[in-house]
């Protein structure tokens, strides 16, 4: 079983819809959860991060972590064509330790249709 599983899509939704992106993971040691956004031919950029379980909201974006189910989600409200990109979940186990490599999901390609 891979450490992080993410549906590659593509996911196409109409403008204004709510988008739900998800990842599952197998390593219960993961504590730090991140979402990166990657536009075509560019490097990924950090969008949101959360620590442990719960929700975090930032504008139209909400990140949700359910550690009991080993499941994380990113919700995008009022989706815009400019949100079209690949979204990658990422996670790491430890802070303050040199061996805290970040593991990424494969990314979900999202298309927002005008």
């Amino acid at each position: 079983q891979k450490e992080v599983e993410q549906d590659p899509g593509p996911l196409s939704v109409p403008e204004g819809a709510i988008v739900s992106l998800n990842c599952t993971y197998s390593n219960s040691a993961f504590q730090y959860f991140m979402w990166y956004r990657q536009y075509s031919r560019k490097g990924p950029e950090l969008l949101m991060y959360t620590y442990s379980s719960g929700n975090k909201e930032d504008g139209r974006f909400t990140a949700q972590v359910d550690k009991s189910s080993k499941y994380i989600s990113l919700f995008i409200r009022d989706s815009q064509p400019s949100d079209s990109a690949t979204y990658l979940c990422a996670m790491s186990a430890r802070w303050g330790n040199r061996d805290d490599k970040i593991i990424f999901g494969k990314g979900t390609r999202l298309h927002i249709l005008p």
């Binding site: 993410q6 730090y32 031919r41 490097g43 990924p44 802070w95 040199r98 490599k101 970040i102 990424f104």
Partner: protein, 114 residues
């Protein structure tokens, strides 16, 4: 502020030729450094991970190698490229602080082996 430089942006190389991709980081010291490959439809694959000069962890056995001759320099190499080495190569560095381990990516090198 911290910046990461990765070059070249695009590279076309014949099968069997050598490869050297360089990545340098400015504005931070003793970072964790990463090489990822992103092949079409296959997501972000961690290739190498380094926590310090001369310390390299290989995540996937393959035709590539990595070296870290200086604290903020990370080099990806191959003696003989294969067609399957084509892809989008991303260098990244990470820092750990309270509550987050965040990775910062370069702009990537698109390698086509012909």
């Amino acid at each position: 502020s911290q910046t990461i430089h990765q070059w070249p942006a695009t590279l076309v190389q014949p099968v069997g030729s050598p490869l050297s991709l360089e990545c340098t980081v400015e504005g931070t010291s003793n970072p964790n450094l990463y090489w990822y490959r992103q092949a079409a439809g296959r997501g972000l694959q961690l290739l190498f991970y380094s926590v310090g000069i001369g310390q390299i962890s290989s995540e996937v056995p393959q035709n590539l190698s990595a070296s870290r001759p200086q604290d903020r320099q990370f080099i990806l190499s191959s003696k003989k490229l294969l067609l399957s080495d084509s892809g989008f190569y991303l260098c990244a560095w990470s820092v750990s602080r309270v509550g987050i381990t965040e990775a910062f990516f370069g702009q990537g090198t698109r390698l086509t082996v012909v």
